[in-house]
């Protein structure tokens, strides 16, 4: 089964790197993956999109992902500025970086449309500040994504982070990822959905 992920953030937040790390994590899991940015002359602070496909067969397609099975919103200020939920099917998983609960985001319509428990939040920036001393939430988001969807294992996420960022910075990111992973695992909704290797997302049309 193929899973298509879209990541929304701003230039400078490491959105492209997050997609790449996700693909490396999937690769570490022995799967096929493809990460790519939305191409443009990106500037710091401008809305940026990156994509990742994960599957069990070689990935041939090279089109942008219009109907993602999973969505990661790195910067919650985009929720009011960009159509981040564009093309999102009802089965999709949504992960938003915020310390607020999903119900407090004023996304009522989306919450009703998505399958129960698919809209999840994680305070990734707070976790990053705590572990890295800097507001770089990607590692925490990937840890949370692993717990939310099971599309990649936390072990492979950690390995991908260490490969990309050797040394102290990598370990700080690993700590943030692990805490975010635990954060979701201890949530009642996440527990209901399980957090093991079983693939939870992508019940759409992808072969």
């Amino acid at each position: 089964m193929q899973v298509e992920v879209r990541i929304h953030g701003r230039g400078g937040q490491g959105v492209v790197t997050a997609a790449e790390l996700l693909s490396v994590a999937a690769f570490n899991d022995g799967r096929h993956a493809q990460a790519f940015p939305s191409f443009g002359s990106e500037r710091t602070g401008a809305p940026v999109v990156a994509f990742c496909r994960i599957g069990d067969r070689p990935i041939r397609a090279h089109d942008p992902i219009l109907a993602p099975d999973a969505l990661i919103v790195v910067d919650p200020t985009l929720l009011r500025q960009v159509d981040v939920f564009g093309g999102l099917p009802d089965h999709a998983d949504v992960l938003i970086n915020t310390s607020r609960e999903p119900d407090a985001l004023g996304l009522g319509e989306l919450g009703e449309r998505l399958a129960p428990g698919r809209l999840v939040t994680v305070p990734a920036t707070e976790l990053a500040r705590e572990h890295l001393g800097r507001p770089l939430p990607n590692a925490a988001l990937l840890g949370a994504f692993s717990a939310q969807t099971g599309a990649v294992s936390i072990e492979s996420v950690i390995a991908a982070i260490r490969q990309r960022f050797p040394g102290a910075v990598g370990e700080q990111n690993v700590a943030a990822a692990m805490q975010a992973h635990r954060h979701l695992q201890t949530r009642p909704r996440a527990l209901q959905r399980g957090s093991g290797a079983e693939l939870q997302i992508g019940q759409g049309s992808h072969a």
Partner: protein, 422 residues
Amino acid sequence: MPESGTRQIEGSRAVAETVGLCRPEVICAYPISPQTHIVEALSNLVQAGRLAPCEFVNVESEFAAMSVAIGASATGARAYTATASQGLLYMAEALYNASGLGLPIVMTVANRAIGAPINIWNDHSDSMSQRDSGWIQLYVESNQEAVDVHVQAFRLAEQLSLPVMVCMDGFVLTHAVERVELPTQAQVDAFLPAFEPQQLLHPSDPVTIGAMVGPEAFMEVRYLAHHKQMQALDQIPEIAAAFEQRFGRSSGGLLRRYRTADAELVVVALGSVVGTIEDVIDELREQGMRIGALAIKTFRPWPAQEVREALADAPVVLVLEKALSIGIGGIVSQNVHSALQGTDARIHTAIAGLGGRPITKQTLRALFTRAHENELGATTFVDLRRDLVDRELQRALAKRRSGPHAENMLRDLGAVAAGPLT
């Protein structure tokens, strides 16, 4: 020594590592998006001493890059460069010199649109504009194929003593992180013999390369260039077969057929869009449509006979291409028409993806269905915003000084643009 093995790696990095494994002795390049990551990675390899002996020459322009490659190649060095878009145009004069002199330079073109209006995104306008330059042109579908075809390109170039362009879609491939199996140094060394130049500038054995040739022999020199390039039609499949035998992967070659055996409609395309097309073909096949694809891997020389054979049983042919020959339409399409001369095939042209316009599965599904139902005209501009065009045409009719088209249309779209306020 560059690294090998299966990696999850950016296309540009994979190409740089592979070019490194081919042991180039001179790399000269001027950075331009979306080629930059390739030459950056190569300059790092050279600086780190992982690629030796090799000289990385920082040049002041693409014209200089190709000129340095010509000089290096003429003195017997294996020479490599890479460019895109305006950069390729800027080296156009030197391109003809490289091929006219028969110098086996290998160059990556990270395909990108040509301005004006300036546009950094992917299409095939750049390499297609140089299709008559005497260079062999190979188009790749994936980063794995980009890796494999670069290894083959050096062997092909040096066997024939002709320059080879490896065309890979800018951003779509160069900036995509995919699983790629990088060859080992031993594998590449066994496949790619040391460069033995056909002609050599050397102080101990002085010769002239590039003399003036008048009407008495110019036709013959040009004929030989054509004759030599046509030999690639035999050598490319041989090299691809040798590659497959040694590396266990099928890559490159002249053409590749996909589910064409009983196809009523065959889509002809080249580059990274082929994979997307194949996914759509699988979907449509499940719904009962007899559809297949023909991927063009070698565009120059043009494998006319092979194309004709591959399309012999297809009543309908749809050529989908990412370039436009202004004043006539399709470019690949003209070549397909010439290959199918005298047959009954109904041939449609679809111009798609210019300047990075995404070619989505949804669009392809609709396009192929219309082609199959015989609802397409001779040439279709895929996903063209007709409303935008009509508004601008009206504006131009209404007022002589209606201003620049590009900026007018950007203003219609609400994008920031320069130009007069109305």
